[in-house]
Assembly symmetry: C2
Homo-oligomer: 662 residues x 2
């Protein structure tokens, strides 16, 4: 069936009426965007995009990302029409507790939601990650003849997305990498929440994106022919990402509110909805109506999609078999992390090595054993020890397993999330721990969306030394641990670093953050435990006979300091237990019996950590001794600072002695 | 004295030798940038910039910002030569504990450091804030004839700064506002830490900045004549910011390491330093040598600067006197916040108003009473209630007290910091609390630099409702409170909002963050206290006769919920005290006697807050009842969520009853 412009109009107008109705019923939502972009969506879903609602996980489907996430009703409308698992009842439940139709899209591939969006710019950058993953998968599996992976990444981004810095970062990388599978539509409606974009935005988006090596087109976003032509032109440009600047009217179809901020983020109101429906040519009193013609159109679209899907399936089965199939499957299943333990580097007790360096050695093994382990640093590879030589690298018009993100932490985090959403790869990213702040919104999205994004954050305390307070994390451990569903691991030494990586690989339903030292730390001679105990979050690494006089809780580089302090205390007749405490997140999941065996109720507790005290009270009690760092750092050599800040074994032992005397 | 190119060369070469020596002695630092930019700096400090080391606070001095903050030795060298309070001993103490010469520049106007830099892009954006403040001061005070304020903002930014998203945001705003007093030099040395910028950067920076309405020049950054000519051209362009793209050789002068990442962030090594000195024409064995000619040059520069300063002083004294002088002085002194109390809006107990709305009403008074109170929102003015109508607004080529930042939270925070560094204004910024994450690095810089940046963050909990988990802050209160030197205030009602603003205005040595509700909350009928008690951080807002059975600690919208719960508990014979706890930061500064009078040791404690529990243990003890939100939110109407999440008065009373029964 050929789809006429009047078909497209009926689809687009039904997006408008459905959006208005759902938002009106919820008394909450953003009608402007779905109404303004309805014409574009109608073309995308009926004439351009390839998808299969019966197999939403089809790897060669086109991805659609609603970067302007507040426009959810656009997405739910199209997903309902096209046969995804959304009923009219689901639409009526828009924004209600427990519904399938929350206020912003929440990552759920089975439901056709490719990534979580809402915080502006995140979706834009996620798509760059998907495009990268798609290209790398294609490079590996397409071989000769017809390609297995040749789909596109579509997105609609608004003025807000364009203004966010993360978008500039991601766009520069997409252009640098020459990601021709990107087709983004910029919904240029010249209206933001405060009013006309003239208030805050007057730059040339065309020129900006051309500077980033993008192919830029400009169209009337309400002209079906122009939309389709532009999308086809964009598809034909394979060596650069495409941006289609679509001039649109926000809230198009609302006679009294279109083209104004009044329709951006609030229901139009009953009267205006009625008026809008009538001006569109619908019955103003009928709600949640989807004309039969819309379902007919999508039924025919589905048939065409099915044919396309079936022929891909045949191609896939013909091409991806035997060893290739094994490789394919290994991309899409969790690695057997336990089995990697045998291949891991060994670190002799008593040797000294920075945990970042130990991590680098682990990563060499991971690069060898896990061909789908990819990632990189925001220009700190040599410092983070995350650049693994001997493997491919990204560069101009080139992709590789070592990704050079440049100094773009925020885009790095969101691109990584896009790779994780896409699947087929386990992505890591890296920077100095203090610069986690630059990518925090992306870390939050990984945690919220249950993505296996792995972070390698080195230079984890004042031991950064001379670079001073701007580069010395203080509050970052506390601020990271407080993000729900994020596993923050701060290994004590090389052996725990191995275990931390194994833990990160095993955790497929959420992000893991490895917090690593800049400075060398001794590999601990474990007498009463094994580094494998990291899997319990905290464990006794050094103990005394009989009941201890003090239990010292420490993480990272403070574990060996605490053990040395314990030795000094022993000489003075004080029995100290030392608990290595790499992960609160894991420890919280242990049974009460184990937790109280590690930190007995009736033993005084000291906490030793080169970071903020906040939160440690939960484990140490409120009357514990806190040897922590609660103010900004200072520029000085690390060992001088350790003395100045009271973080040497001598100082720690002294403070514990005084504490016990009280 | 006219300064010849050979004079410039000797100055530049001395920057190189001094930088190499200081970094070598410290065994730490970044020689590449100072050596690469020495020629530019020589021209800037001898022929272009206007400053007076004897009055470093001179308001009409040119500002210089080392956005590429790792290149500190460039700055310390120039400040030493030009007569600021840096001796050769200070240079020898580079990066040592307690020295005047820390690893990255730390804000200190008396020492010629205009802002703290190091985290890339911050300085770039700070300068835009300074340029804005300068223009607004000029608009107010220049009047007719010769201008009082007509200086420039200079900065050197590297590849890293250019790649950061914050820079794109800030550059777009600078172009939009037409800030012709900006002259930035892009140190385009094509090298980053990982190696050639080709790895991660291939876009046209010229085109990018032209898209933002900047005037762009390209020069050889080692050709004195080109440098001077470009700077003069940039000065002449008054309607747009200027970017001078200077092609430089990183580490110029180091025969074996220049033009490579090897000289970026580590000492060159003794042999290479010797070799470099000899190739420059100096004695390879002499360290920390400043040729007499350098001091002669700067002595003559100082004389010229002095003449310029003196004539400005005369002009200033002639023009700025009487009422104008009073206005000028009021810009540069802390407002008498106490005296504002009488003018503040009054809120009747029992009325209902969202604290964001109460804040908006306070801000109307502040706009009226404090002409130098300026700021705005990242496109959420109508939601944050921060747009104050009847006052000037920023726009294309226009500045005003209501600043439209667009959807650019990160640049907003850093521009605000730049305004605070500059002086003359008290700046605020605003967004939804959840998007604090987007500007967290700038908030940290404000706290670190002791700037009076005020944040208005509304929509502070799950009460955001339908927008769902991407928009509902959970961990943000904990994550904000953990930043050192940041006062986070979450007022309980309209009256506390007034007091929170007074507190923010009084606090001139650090940032204050106001955390405000979206939803209406009742104005509390205070029987045993006054909202003024906010100045103690926490206070008893509701009490019982005799010893309470439970002390409930609550902040923000949970205070009235707790008071209602206390009422229900009273009906059941349980005496509950309610403590309104708007600020940990302030409470921590109170005397122990006061603190223990508010939260007695022997009374069971409950914490009620619509945010993460982390950190509350410090006040509540570890065995308290925590009625907090520790997982991501859900999309649903706010009142439905309150029930679902157990945050209603009934649910709170029920949990406290059960807790006390145990």
């Amino acid at each position: 069936m050929s789809i006429s412009n009047s078909d497209l109009k009926i689809v687009a107008d039904t997006v408008r009426t459905l959006s208005m109705d759902a938002i009106e019923k919820a008394k909450s939502g953003h009608p402007g965007m779905p109404m303004g972009c309805a014409d574009i969506a109608a073309v995308l879903w009926t004439k351009v995009m390839r998808y299969n609602p019966d197999d939403p996980e089809w790897m060669n489907r086109d991805r659609f990302i609603l970067s302007a996430g507040h426009g959810t009703m656009l997405l739910y409308s199209m997903l309902h029409f096209s046969g995804y698992d959304y009923s009219i009842e689901d639409i009526k439940n828009f924004r209600q507790l427990g519904s399938k139709t929350p206020g912003h899209p929440e990552f759920n591939v089975r439901l056709g939601i490719e990534t979580t969006t809402g915080p502006l710019g995140q979706g834009f950058a996620n798509g760059i990650g998907m495009a990268l993953a798609s290209k790398m998968l294609a490079d590996e599996f397409n071989g000769d003849g017809e390609p297995i992976i040749d789909h596109y990444i579509y997105s609609i981004a608004g003025d807000g997305c364009i203004m966010e810095g993360i978008t500039s970062e991601a766009a520069a990388l997409a252009g640098h990498w020459g990601l021709g599978n990107i087709i983004y539509i910029y919904d240029s409606n010249s209206i933001t929440i405060e009013g006309s974009t003239d208030m805050s935005m007057s730059h040339s988006v065309r020129t900006q994106f051309e500077s980033y090596n993008w192919h830029v087109l400009e169209i009337d976003g309400h002209n079906f022919d122009e939309i389709e032509k532009a999308l086809n032109e964009a598809k034909a440009v394979k060596d650069r990402p495409s941006l289609i600047i679509a001039r649109t009217m926000i809230g198009k179809g609302s006679p009294n509110k279109q083209c104004s901020e009044a329709c951006h983020g609030a229901p139009l109101g009953e009267d205006e909805v009625k008026c809008a429906k009538e001006s569109i040519g619908c019955d103003g009193d009928v709600c949640f109506n989807v004309p039969e013609r819309v379902y007919e159109i999508f039924s025919s679209v589905k048939q065409e999609q099915k044919a396309c899907y079936d022929s891909w399936k045949k191609l896939f089965e013909g091409k991806v078999k035997g060893d290739i199939k094994k490789r394919w499957d290994s991309c899409f299943s969790a690695p057997d992390a336990e089995s990697l333990r045998g291949a891991m580097p060994e670190f002799k007790a008593g040797g000294k090595i920075a945990t970042r360096t130990a991590s680098g050695k682990v990563m060499e093994v991971l690069f060898e054993k896990l061909p789908h382990f990819i990632g990189g640093s925001a220009d700190l590879g040599p410092s983070n020890k995350t650049f693994i030589s001997g493997y491919s690298e990204s560069g101009r018009n080139t992709l590789g397993r070592n990704i050079h993100f440049g100094v773009r932490e925020h885009a790095m985090g969101a691109i990584q999330n896009g790779i994780a959403c896409y699947g087929g790869f386990i992505p890591f990213s890296a920077t100095f721990f203090v610069f986690m702040d630059y990518m925090r919104p992306a870390v939050r999205m990984a945690a919220l969306s249950h993505l296996q994004s792995i972070y390698v954050f080195s230079h984890d305390s004042f031991y950064v030394g001379e670079d001073g307070p701007t580069h010395q994390p203080v509050e970052h451990l506390s601020a990271a641990r407080v993000i729900p569903n994020l596993n923050v691991i701060r290994p004590a030494d090389a052996e725990e670093t191995v275990e931390a990586w194994i833990s990160a690989l095993k955790r497929t339903d959420g992000p893991t953050m490895l917090i690593l030292t800049r400075q060398d730390v001794p590999s601990i001679d474990r007498k009463c435990s094994s580094a494998k105990d990291l899997e319990k979050g905290a464990y006794v690494i050094h103990d005394t006979e009989g009941k201890p006089d003090i239990a010292i809780l420490a993480s990272g580089s403070e574990v060996h300091v605490s053990m040395e302090a314990a030795g000094m205390l022993a000489d003075q007749g004080i029995n100290a237990r030392v608990v290595s405490f790499p992960s609160w997140f894991i420890f919280d999941k242990q049974e009460e019996a184990y937790r109280s065996s590690v930190i007995p109720e009736d033993v005084p507790v000291a906490v030793v950590e080169a970071g903020s005290r906040t939160g440690w009270e939960r484990y140490a009690g409120c009357h514990a001794l806190f040897i922590t760092i609660d103010d900004f750092g200072i520029s000085a050599p690390a060992e001088v600072l350790a003395g100045h800040l009271g973080m040497t074994p001598e100082a720690v032992a002294g403070r514990i002695r005084d504490f016990l005397k009280r």
